[in-house]
Symmetry: C2
Subunit: 138 residues, 2 copies
């Protein structure tokens, strides 16, 4: 049980975008370089984030990606759910077992974690040092 690599990449990319100057765009090429990913692969992740309304994209030369909302309106959970989907952490496997108490406990724990990650904003960590973007003095 582990979050996918895609979620990992998505979170780091969102931090990159948050750090971007207002109204500036950045292309996949550059975004991918920071994490040493292939642009085509990261592109699929970015498309998901775009469809979810977290970022905006413009095609063509001088195009690229930028935030679609205010920085303080983007939580960890927003990004995670976009990539991971909305499925539950735990689904009771017993046939015909409505109201499984085990499931209930697990769902409660899940809900609390979800809530916690909803309150955690990506800006708050983007503002701090320590989040290098791969290219050091380039």
């Amino acid at each position: 049980m582990k979050y996918s690599n895609a979620t990992n990449y998505a979170l780091h990319t969102m931090v990159q975008l948050i750090r971007l100057p207002r109204d500036a765009s950045i292309g996949v090429q550059e975004l991918a370089k920071a994490q040493q990913l292939s642009p085509t692969y990261l592109s699929k992740i970015l498309t998901k984030l775009t469809k979810a309304g977290l970022i905006e994209s413009t095609p063509g030369a001088k195009g690229g990606y930028r935030l679609a909302r205010g920085e303080r309106d983007i939580s960890f959970f927003d990004v995670i759910q976009t990539i991971e989907g909305e499925s539950h952490l735990f689904d009771c496997t017993l046939h015909r077992h409505e109201g499984c108490l085990i499931e209930k406990v697990m769902r409660d724990a899940e809900a609390n974690m979800k809530k916690e990650l909803q309150e955690q904003l990506l800006v708050d960590i983007a503002e701090q040092a320590g989040q290098h973007q791969g290219g050091d003095g380039k």
Copy 2:
């Protein structure tokens, strides 16, 4: 990102064992029937639980499984960690990125969920109705 089926089966099986009369044992055959699983498959799960010290086993005729500790000493987390292992929910994928702040936030959320599941005892739900064991009036 989802807990494995094995964890699901393990939790349900533990509830079965907790409900067992003191000093009674039960074999895989019967345990598996309740969840409609193949005994050989459930057997592998039970072996993990045994090695982890959650349950005890005796081979041979009249053998089987029983709890290895007091009921109030078995938490959801004990069972989950036994099956899922100890790996983290999130590992930063960036090369040479010690002290990743994204990772820190995710690990904190994980730790809180872990703590919550450590406080949840399986007895508490085993005592309640609603957790049928498959065989109805058999």
